[in-house]
Symmetry: C2
Subunit: 159 residues, 2 copies
């Protein structure tokens, strides 16, 4: 079964190279970018401006291979890819929760962007604490890395 999607827009950010990028929105505090939704989908943005945060789903378009076990940025141990947010996934879908500053016609101004410039956008969903906040009490191998994500930058390993 092959599932076919088409980009609904393009994400613009200051990051034109993978190396040196923040690895999560948490590490991209204050970084601004924009989300250009193709005009034919702009009608779907109605009412989105009422939300302070949005979930962006996008295609990691520079990923060229799949790795089921990866060594993440914040840990020296190899980990199963589904226990990480690394890009080299069987279906390379990225997820970032960003702050929504404004919407003008088909362009969203956003903040806390950890996404490569030119990334194809797949979907936008409103971020709703009632759906999306969970009392997660165990974060596995990431427990030891707490706080590190604010400083850690990308290198070339997931290109």
């Amino acid at each position: 079964m092959e599932i076919g999607y088409r980009p609904i827009g393009i994400i613009h950010s200051p990051f034109t190279e993978i190396e040196g990028m923040p690895i999560q929105p948490t590490g991209a505090s204050g970084i601004r970018g924009s989300v250009e939704v193709f005009p034919e989908f702009a009608e779907g943005l109605k009412d989105l401006d009422g939300f302070s945060h949005v979930i962006l789903l996008y295609h990691f378009h520079q990923v060229r291979e799949v790795k089921l076990v990866v060594t993440p940025f914040m840990d020296p141990q190899p980990r199963g890819v589904f226990a990480t947010r690394a890009p080299k996934r069987p279906n390379p879908i990225g997820l970032s929760i960003v702050k929504l500053l404004s919407i003008e016609q088909n362009v969203l101004r956003v903040e806390n962007v950890d996404i490569l410039d030119g990334t194809p956008l797949l979907d936008i969903k409103p971020y709703v604490p009632e759906f999306d906040h969970h009392p997660a009490d165990r974060v596995g191998w990431l427990a030891r890395a707490k706080g590190q994500v604010r400083r850690q930058k990308s290198d070339s390993r997931f290109r």
Copy 2:
């Protein structure tokens, strides 16, 4: 640009019909299901058992049309589809955050499942509060619907 993905597994749940389903994991409290990851991807599950919650991305496989403006379950007003979590999206990708109970080989036992039985799985990511909790102070049209998601059930409108 066409992006091709392949399911990495299948989600099993008690919900064999769209009508009467919970509309978010918040409304599926205690409902158990399982996530069968195809054996060829099982190696990627290593270390995931350390996390209490996981993000499931999946394909809304019963969606047959796209609607840019929808009338959501919790509101009588038509809303832009990107301001809702409704399934009839240009790229019908679903997102649910579920509680992870256990992993045995290639099968995850999960709780708070609001997903149709037989849904193709696209990706699993660990849920990490440091990445995924955000101080969202505005939830648009959903502000008036707060709490309603626990009671609201699906009907056939998004089939």
